[in-house]
């Protein structure tokens, strides 16, 4: 993969006049239209060109040809937005037939913030339906192909986002992460993916999968771009009661400084959880990780073994909590106020039949999770399933809190393997769920985590390293990531 310019390099080009937002935007649309990745579901050509023209005009006439990087850190930068985030007036499908022609009446706060900072939305990116999946094979509009290996999955659920960034179909993308849906595709596609602490970025406009786990995050070519996007989006929102008021640091600065300082991670302690480095990890993945860890050790970081004893319950815990919340969040899809309503629905003999006709629009995996979730919450099973899982969740969180007494960052593979083949796991839901085994615990505990590219396997498939930090310690993550070689594309 050739080196793709970062946001600041693009701004340099704007400043020097060798590029402007309109030309950049047009170049992306041209590339997108000739790509076969199926990364995009909806293109916003008119809207994007309108934004680009206005920005180009402002650059010349209001800013004297110099990008106002302080006030508009994303000036003229074309982005792809995962199609689970709403934009007023723009088709948003969640890759589901249920929302095939859904046009939201409002824009997600996070997207609003990016556009206010000058970003341009190229279009909506493909995903697993309602963000439920790990391979982007669950989209109602067809699978997304891996950026470089078309017989492979890009990972999911933010597969469109991962591929788009890696295949140069946008400068950066927004993904969402509930159990690993940013980090896994970032790892498989060889880009950076950051899931911030739960509560950092507003979920208003993020079409809900599992409310206590969902977060929006950037997927980017460079670490500094991820830090920049995250900084622009983070902060409390009056439209979301689960956002945090903890101060947002200048993460862009953290990265810039750490990259310039060879002693940046001196004395930082890296935790290696015994439960994560198990059999079943691909030897090339393991080797790439060990190489990266060695390099960090050589820069003065200490490597400390830690234990997260409840790790083995991660998938079970997650798949009870997430599906339960999902079954609830998806109750609103009833064809009454929005969404697809098949012909058969209005002819239904009763309102119950009406609902069933409408809700037949869900794909198989979504249906499965709704059934599981409804079961886990139902009377007689609630204590044994939902409540029990919520208790184990707290224990998993305490595992991390204990481990973080002795380390600053915890490291693991993102996934036991590199990108698997299309269709390989699609038939077995449980096998598919187990691909998330390393990313899930950080989600359950609400911790910031990211995937950093650390090399490729012998087939040229990217390998990602997973870093986890304590709540609200994104700077530790970013500082460590800044010092990983190959930690820049």
């Amino acid at each position: 993969m050739k080196e793709l310019p970062s946001i600041s390099m693009i701004h340099d080009s704007f400043d020097s006049g060798t590029l402007d937002p309109v030309r950049l935007t047009e170049a992306f649309f041209s590339k997108i239209k000739s790509s076969r990745h199926n990364a995009y579901l909806t293109l916003c050509e008119d809207r994007a060109l309108g934004q680009a023209k206005a920005l180009t005009h402002q650059l010349k006439n209001s800013y004297g040809g110099r990008v106002p990087r302080k006030s508009h850190p994303l000036f003229g930068i074309p982005l792809g937005i995962k199609d689970v985030l709403t934009i007023d007036g723009v088709r948003t499908t969640c890759a589901s037939k249920m929302l095939d022609q859904y046009i939201p009446p409002y824009t997600a706060t996070a997207v609003q913030k990016l556009e206010t900072a000058g970003a341009i939305t190229l279009g909506k990116l493909n995903l697993d339906e309602f963000a439920m999946g790990s391979s982007n094979e669950n989209s109602a509009y067809g699978a997304v192909l891996h950026p470089t290996h078309p017989d492979r999955v890009p990972g999911g659920s933010s597969g469109g986002s991962g591929t788009a960034v890696a295949a140069d179909l946008c400068v950066a993308a927004l993904g969402t992460d509930t159990g690993g849906s940013i980090r896994l595709p970032a790892s498989f596609c060889g880009v950076f993916g950051l899931k911030p602490t739960y509560g950092r970025i507003s979920r208003y406009g993020q079409i809900a999968f599992a409310s206590s786990l969902d977060q929006i995050g950037p997927m980017t070519r460079t670490l500094e771009d991820a830090a920049l996007l995250a900084r622009v989006m983070a902060g409390p929102d009056e439209m979301d009661s689960t956002t945090s008021t903890v101060a947002v640091e200048d993460w862009f600065e953290v990265v810039r400084q750490a990259k310039a300082d060879s002693g940046a991670i001196q004395g930082m302690r890296i935790g290696i959880p015994a439960e994560y480095f198990i059999d079943g990890i691909d030897p090339e993945v393991r080797a790439a990780l060990e190489k990266a860890i060695d390099s960090l050790r050589n820069q003065g970081a200490q490597v400390v073994p830690v234990s997260l004893p409840h790790t083995r319950y991660a998938v079970s815990t997650y798949y009870v909590i997430a599906v339960s919340e999902a079954s609830s969040n998806l109750s609103r899809y009833d064809g009454v106020r929005f969404g697809a309503r098949p012909e058969s629905a209005m002819k239904a003999g009763s309102i119950v039949e009406f609902y069933k006709e409408v809700r037949a629009g869900f794909g198989e995996e979504v249906k499965r999770r709704i059934l599981l979730g409804t079961f886990a919450l139902s009377s007689g099973y609630y204590d044994a399933y939902y409540r029990k899982a919520a208790q184990v969740r707290r224990l998993m969180r305490e595992d991390f809190e204990n481990a973080f007494r002795n380390v600053d960052v915890i490291v693991s593979p993102v996934s036991p393997t590199t990108a698997f083949k299309l269709g390989e796991k699609a038939k077995n839901p449980l096998q598919m769920y187990l691909t998330d085994i390393f990313t899930i615990p950080a989600s359950l505990a609400g911790l910031p985590a990211m995937s950093v590219p650390v090399g490729k396997d012998s087939q040229g498939l990217p390998i990602g390293m997973h870093l986890i930090a304590p709540r609200f310690q994104e700077s530790s993550l970013l500082r460590m990531a800044s010092r990983i070689p190959g930690g820049e594309s």
Binding site: I103, P105, Y198, G199, S211, S212, E238, S241, T242, S244, H310, Y313, V315, S316, T317, Y319, V320, S327, S331, D334, G335, V336, R337, F338, G339, A340, R341, A345, M346, A348, S350, I351, Y355, K356, E357, R359, A360, K367, R368, I370, L371, L372, T374, F375, S378, Y381, A384, Y385, K388, A389, A390, Q391, V392, R393, R394, L395, R397, P429, L430, G446
Partner: protein
């Protein structure tokens, strides 16, 4: 988890589907039953964990609920004064969302 095996059978799948207003064709029941059974067998391991006295974690943040001021902020209307939330609604009549007759 209770000691008795959960009676995970077709009837339960159908009942759960009914609760969730999902249409399940006869052919599907078996398929869903199988995959759900497999998943639940894995999930059953949660019963091994000693959670005596552990407070369940139901929320992603630790903070308590922030409240909002009691202030009306009208949502947008279009040029004809029609509420924007009605735009793109599947079927609207006299400003109301239209559905088959609700009995009861």
């Amino acid at each position: 988890m209770n000691d008795q095996p959960i009676p995970l059978n077709e009837a339960l799948i159908r009942k759960v589907a009914e609760l969730a207003r999902l249409k399940i064709e006869d052919g599907e029941v078996e398929r869903h039953l199988r995959s759900i059974r497999e998943i639940l067998q894995h999930v059953d391991q949660l019963a091994q964990v000693d959670t005596q006295g552990v407070e369940p974690m139901y929320h992603g943040i630790d903070d308590s609920l922030r409240l909002r001021e009691d202030r009306v902020r009208e949502f947008e209307r279009d040029d004809q004064g029609k509420p924007k939330v009605l735009q793109h609604a599947p079927e609207v009549e006299n400003g109301g969302f239209k559905v088959p007759r609700i009995v009861g």
